[in-house]
Subunit: 329 residues, 2 copies
DNA sequence: CGCCATACCTTAAACGATTAAGTTCACCGG
DNA sequence: CCGGTGAACTTAATCGTTTAAGGTATGGCG
């Protein structure tokens, strides 16, 4: 198919080894030859065969992207992370390879060889993730893994405690005395950190915590019942921090049916921002997690870690800001 | 690293060639040897090195997944397609590799070598897609490419005409006399087919078409103005088919501010279903495009096409049903 | 003038798999 | 008894690249 190193060598009348050294900046060829080789490579459109390189150097130039099976289902957030990962690897030699979820069986050994793995939101109910981290491959996690998992090489995470405090401060500034927390899952560290920060805030402010734990597949009726219970308590919950992707509009819709929507002055903050929040009527205040940036950053970190001679002693941690985007009047 | 063919051969005291033939079911080894080799391979946990195979057989066992840069931005639909693709390749030798978008430059030649490409929703404004299809690689498109593009090897598409008719019939059955069409882009064949089907339906039913073309980044105010214009026409538009991902809830919210929401008896159908429609208050009737199924089917078709000795004369076309999911009373 | 170091290049081996082309040996028919 | 045949292997070449080891001028220096 394409031009090979041998083709190039034949064309120039020198050996393939010389061509290789010339193109890879290795010593052993004269500067003149190097320049000639470069020109010929350009002219003949030579592209090194990745497979040949991979075999010789025993690296594949591919990075696995792993996400739990439960994740990404109808999630705006994960699509954005993907875009970020793709963008982050775009100008490098590396390419992201989507790994199938091994949540149930944890059969990680059958995975294709990759130089490293980006684990997107390690969930504590995902067996495959545990095995992946234990396998010793270079790993970068987007969101920290559960403490019981083997340490990854790197982590990209949000400043969830600050984001939680910002959100609660905002809700209170909009007139609430007892902001509640609505969670949609308890398997991500992000979610657990938010709940911990929330409880901490409550104890600091001498407020009784109101945690409403729902699941994404619950019916509107069930969720409404849970909401009404907290909103009708002795000290009623009068504001809500919704920690979950794409769920705040749903909650807003339910609150509207009982006259407690953001339009009625009930403060609501979404823990995950997206165009859904921006274009909702009325717009919903939200934490901009910048999932695209996460993906990008994880890709970059992986590239950097692979260039280093050996694994860092401590996991490299990159904490990204998660600013509150205030919307509405 | 892992056990190689040579290791296995050494362990068994036979040549690597014999082991290869044994494991690949090629003639040239006795049934007894074959069985012994199989057992030893199992025992030593032999996994053929993909890179070695790739080099020898000049195939990489990876399939590129390409999507336009404009696409996937906060799209539930694309996340689901991805899940489907991953699932479709899960039990095969093939792995999906995410290709960076080459929309602007169309620099497809720098792509890593892949055995084929799944093009997700080819958009007519994406240069990279045109070049990809022209490059002669095996290609399967999810949604047909524009007619001006080189023919792909295969296509997985929705039955958009039927879905449009079903939607319009539903809207009329809910009391509308002049259903309108709201489109969010005109670069996908899906969108163009829907508009054509809509106009056809209108001419059959002697109704003046009302097409409202918006863009996803337009402000709520601008969109509201466009809506009001059609709703306040001489023969007012009294129902809406919203052909776009995740946009129907936004439109429903805007309609509510002028008292014409689905709750007020204004029939609304979303051209793309998702949990957003299911859990909206009130739930929104929608076409179930089954994006997960698309991805799965595209992966399967790619696998099948690669096994065939040569390219099919005509593009293989698989049309999947897109049933209307009626919600609300 | 002779010797050694150096620059620059070639040769060859290696990565791990597949496969065409040889080799060995038993067996069968004439 | 001998040539031919086929089964069951082995040998070796190959895919494209990298790199250690080997070779050959050339120049400098004693």
């Amino acid at each position: 198919m394409g031009t090979t190193l041998k083709d190039l060598a034949g064309h120039l009348g020198i050996s393939a080894a010389a061509v290789s050294m010339a193109l890879n900046g290795k010593p052993g060829v004269s500067e003149q030859t190097r320049e000639e080789v470069r020109r010929a490579a350009e002219e003949l459109g030579y592209r090194p065969n990745r497979t040949g390189q991979a075999l010789r150097l025993s690296r594949t130039n591919t990075i696995g992207v792993y996400f739990p099976s439960t994740v990404m289902e109808y999630s705006l957030y994960f699509a954005e992370i993907m875009r970020g990962i793709v963008a982050g690897f775009a100008d490098t030699e590396l390419s992201p390879l989507l790994l199938p979820s091994a949540g149930r069986t944890g059969q990680v050994r059958d995975f294709p060889e990759v130089d490293g793995v980006v684990v997107v939101e390690p969930h504590s109910d995902d067996l495959g993730m545990f095995e992946l981290l234990r396998s010793g491959r270079p790993t970068v996690c987007i969101d920290p893994p559960p403490p019981s998992a083997a340490a990854p090489w790197g982590v990209v995470e949000a400043d969830a405690p600050s984001a939680t405090r910002d959100s609660l401060r905002h809700i209170v500034s909009r007139g609430a005395a007892r902001p509640g927390l609505l969670t949609i899952e308890t398997v991500s560290e992000w979610s657990r950190t938010i709940e911990a920060s929330y409880r901490e805030w409550c104890s600091e402010h001498r407020v009784e915590p109101a945690v409403i734990a729902i699941s994404a597949r619950q019916s509107n009726e069930e969720i409404l019942e849970l909401l009404e219970r907290e909103l009708g308590a002795d000290v009623p919950c009068d504001g809500l921090f919704v920690a979950g992707d794409a769920v705040a509009p749903r909650i807003a819709g339910l609150l509207r049916t009982i006259g407690r929507s953001p339009e009625d002055g009930f403060p609501l903050v979404s823990g995950v921002d997206s165009t859904m929040m921006e274009f909702h009527t009325p717009p919903i205040t939200a934490i901009d997690l910048n999932p695209y940036g996460y993906g990008m950053q994880a890709a970059r970190m992986m590239g950097a870690l692979l260039l280093e001679p050996n694994r860092p002693g401590e996991p490299r941690i990159e904490r990204l800001p998660a600013p509150l985007v205030v919307r509405g009047t």
